[in-house]
Amino acid sequence: MKIIKNYLPLAMVMVMGLLMLGSYYVPHKLSVDYVEQMNKWENIVFAFAFLLGLLSLFVSHYGKIRRRQDGWGYSIFVFVGFLIMVVPSLISGGKQMVDGQVTGLGWSFRYVYNALSATMFAVLAFYIVSTAYRSFRIKSAQAFVLFVAAFILILGKVPLGQMAWESVLGWTGYGIDRVIEWIMSVPAVAGKRGIMIGIAIGAIVTSLKIIFGIERQYMGKD
């Protein structure tokens, strides 16, 4: 039993992991075919993951409605939203336009999903502006550096700011675009590169731990 529950999954992960890792560096046909096959498998697994995610979402929200939990009314909209998109999609065979005519799915996308999604994102702008006023306070030397960098970047992002910079600081010979370019290509890139290298090393270490069976959380508890 232990072989099936423990050793077999570990061996599978190790073999598949090493083969995938090796295939990245081996341009042989066998290696390419193997990657292609794995990609197809991955897509199939992806489809099942979608289904599983959807079922999990439904069960969770159905539970909220059944128990009349706080905010249960919002959960109804999960099902309403799902039906608004899926029913027209099934009827129109997934097509948004047929012979120049917008189908039910096309209509739902344009006038429901489009509007809702754009509204959600647009509302963020209001919160960002309000938060900038309330939170962007210079209370330390670090906050001052952040303030100066943010101020220059925001100013340089818009033509009106560029014009303001030129009229006040044009005599220095440093255009705001040059200052922004320096901020973006020296301190910003240095910080970002450090983060990227850190993430990459972390990902490599985690992958190797999984491949060699040191990290086994994916196998469950028992």
Binding site: V32, V35, E36, M38, N39, K40, E42, N43, F46, A47, F50, Q96, M97, G106, F109, R110, Y113, N114, A115, S117, A118, M120, F121, A125, F126, I128, V129, S130, A132, Y133, R134, F136, R137, I138, F147, A150, F151, I154, L155, K157, V158, P159, L160, G161, Q162, M163, G175, D177, E181, M184, S185, A188, V189, K192, R193, M196
Partner: protein, 273 residues
Amino acid sequence: MKENLLKFLKIDRRWIFLALAMILFVPIIKPIGLPNKTISKDVQNAFNYLDKVPAGSFVLFSLDYDPSTRPELHPQAVAALRYAFKKNLRVGIVTYIAGSTGLIQQLIEKVPAEAGKVNGTDYVVYPYMANAVAAMTQMASDFYGIYDKDIDGRDARSLPVMKGVRNYKDIPLIVNITGTSILDFWVAYVGDKYNVPVVGGVTAISQPGYGPYLQTGQLKGLIGGMKGAAEFESLVKEPGKGTSGIDALNLAHLMVLLLILTSNIILLVVRYL
């Protein structure tokens, strides 16, 4: 006086919402037409790469944005696509974001018709694929292994637009416009590995994150946010939504600056006077 200033510091945020709404409302209803004076190096590079692709070549557009980032990214896609058609390039459109499919539909309803381009002959749209990395890797050996049919169900191999296209070796440029991290995948799994030039279009908020890729030349050019869209539109001489959106962007940015300055001046006054 200090009390009054402190009250102003704790102003009800609904007043700020109202002020922003009014500031955005005016230029949207009646554009002021503020000039866009500079062209950034990254946008210029993006344009140059698209510009130097020989006529008749096949360029792959990966349009991966949904309605939430539409105001910034759709104008970029429209401008880039218009220029590709103007240059008589063959265009393939793919997406790895389900929410993009409707926006791509809106794009192809309008842009190809303006240039007199024919679906299947001058351009082709492929269906949504869930797993971006798997699809990108697959296309390296055989494009049709993952995209055997276009969005209308036609055999991709038989389409005139795909003539001579088998894998990345036959694609001189990839343009990825996205509000996600898919551009990172294009750079890492395709640009670097198969030496295909990749040009990106991203939201203003994610633009600074691509600095390292631009500096090393892994990313050939980058259009950032609505300003980037306006700059690209001015390069291709096709003013669109990017250019007209600049007014609202201008005023909203200046409002943010004024609010930050005001709150800090008040803080200084309260603390030291």
